[in-house]
């Protein structure tokens, strides 16, 4: 077999992104895009966040987000108390039609959640078996010296980003960000998401205790998604800054 002249041999010592890393990267990219899009739509239907198990238009909110025409929309008739004592829980009937596109919104959310969970599980398994996390993602002890950490921080704050090497040889902050997203943010997103499933929490009631209730889980789910979106923005900026074409080639064709 003759050598194909188009096939570039990587520089000595340089590693390329493995095929399974590249494939899972783009599946998860598509999934996160669809999750953020549909998640935003779902939030627009009820842009109020609470803590504990229960929260609705008739109870105080922890935070209300001004992102929908449902924001501060209180079209309810006269509240009627359930019990004789005053100040107790009430019932009130809604008198207006709200913005609600959850029919496709939620189904798209769960379809894309499967695209995150299933390839994500394969990614974790292969990554552990191959030693990918140990050799590429987890920061090493010697990298954690105060001097090195400070220099990395200063470089990043001054926007001095080293050019791309086209493979999984990452800087310390880069490693920390990837480790945080893979092992903290993504599991937290998935677990708080599952806590919002009445069928799942009937089988695994521990989830409700873990997050302090359904609405607490929903609130944590939202703030974690904000962190993930901030990560994606920082990630794309870093990719652009360190050589966009080179990085895209490295994560697609693997050169």
């Amino acid at each position: 077999m003759t050598d194909r002249p188009t096939e570039r041999i990587p520089a000595k010592g340089a590693e390329r992104h493995a095929a399974w890393v590249r494939i899972s990267h783009w599946i998860v990219t598509a999934s996160v895009f669809a999750l953020v899009f549909s998640g935003f739509e779902i939030l627009m239907v009820h842009p109020r966040l609470y803590w504990g198990n229960a929260g609705n238009d008739l109870t105080p909110a922890l935070l209300e987000l001004p992102i929908s025409r449902n924001y501060k929309h209180r079209g309810y008739d006269q509240p009627r108390p359930f019990f004789a004592s005053s100040g107790g829980p009430v019932s009130a009937s809604r008198t207006y039609d709200i913005f609600n596109q959850n029919g496709w919104g939620r189904s798209l959310h769960f379809l894309s959640a499967w695209l995150l969970v299933l390839p994500g599980a394969v990614y974790l398994l292969v990554g552990l078996l191959r030693g990918h996390f140990r050799s590429h993602l987890w920061p090493r002890m010697k990298e954690l010296s105060p001097g090195l950490v400070r220099r990395e921080l200063v470089d990043h704050l001054r926007f001095r980003i080293p050019p791309a090497r086209g493979g999984p040889r990452y800087g310390l902050l880069q490693k920390s960000a990837y480790t945080f997203v893979v092992f903290v943010a993504a599991p937290l997103m998935i677990l708080t998401g599952l806590t919002m499933s009445p069928a799942v929490t009937s089988a695994v009631p521990f989830l409700l205790r873990l997050f302090g209730g359904y609405q607490s889980a929903r609130t944590i789910h939202f703030f974690t998604s904000v962190v993930v979106v901030l990560f994606v923005i920082a990630h794309v900026v870093m990719v652009a800054r360190s050589g966009f074409r080179r990085q895209i080639r490295a994560m697609t064709v693997g050169e």
């Binding site: 198990n53 829980p89 009937s93 089988a203």
Partner: protein
């Protein structure tokens, strides 16, 4: 270079095994899933349904203390007699004027002894009272105490046939929906006639609503009129969820 190629081949084998596995699972889907895969979103819903039924089993949802009861918005239809300009609305207004003495819940389909139950007859069954969380698809939740008769007791009384697989229910605001027998026979699935210690209020579905505690709120249909036990999945046409673009299974 050789090592790189080996990795690629192994990756291809993993992908191949996954694809074959997916195909085998997909081939089994028609046997365990209702045919709701009208489009890619409904296919995703069906996958969730299959996964939850395969993995979760029958367990009870959390029940709360009386002190946990919260305020409870009434949404959707809050008075069929006003909303419905049809014969259904007229019939509902008549029954409501007579304190629902004329109300009947017809139970038919794949059952040995089809019959219609009055409110008084439903109250003769051993009641079940539960304080549970209503999880609205919009994102809000509310906790209330519900009293009613387990749907399983009513299905026992009419004797469902061995071929039965779904319970289709319809309401005075002209909605149709259905659940599978696992949810229909679930101990916390009740035909509720009481809320927070009183008769079920008009806005919350008087005289009787369903409680399906392991699914989203909209499966707990208000203003019940009729139950039909079926052998096959039926989507309820334009009065059901699927054709209006909503998921049938919302265990979520």
């Amino acid at each position: 270079m050789k090592k790189e190629r080996l990795i690629t081949r192994r990756g291809a084998i993993v992908a191949g095994v996954a694809a074959v596995g997916g195909f085998v699972v997909a081939r089994r889907f028609p046997k365990i899933l209702p045919p709701t895969c009208g489009n890619v979103l409904r296919a995703g819903d069906s996958f969730t349904y299959g996964a939850q039924r395969a993995l979760l089993g029958q367990s009870l949802v959390r029940e709360y203390a009386a002190s946990d009861v919260t305020s409870f918005p009434a949404t959707g239809t809050t008075d069929p007699g006003v909303k419905m300009k049809s014969e259904l609305g007229e019939a509902y207004r008549r029954m409501q004027a007579g304190a629902f003495a004329e109300w009947r819940l017809s139970v038919e389909g794949s059952v040995a002894r089809p019959r219609a139950f009055s409110l008084a007859e439903l109250k003769q069954f051993s009641p079940r009272t539960q304080i549970t969380r209503h999880t609205c698809e919009e994102g809000w939740t509310a906790i209330a105490q519900w009293t009613g008769v387990p749907l399983s007791a009513v299905l026992d009384a009419v004797g469902i046939l061995p071929t039965a697989r779904f319970v289709v229910y319809s309401a005075y605001d002209d909605w149709i929906d259905s659940i599978d027998l696992l949810d229909a026979l679930h101990p916390q699935t009740i035909l509720a006639y009481g809320m927070n210690g009183r008769d079920l209020p008009l806005a919350h579905g008087a005289p009787v609503r369903l409680r399906v505690e392991r699914q989203m709120g909209y499966k707990s249909m208000k203003y019940l009129r009729r139950l039909v036990v079926t052998d096959r999945f039926e989507d309820g046409g334009e009065k059901g969820n699927i054709q209006t673009g909503w998921a049938w299974y919302t265990g979520i």
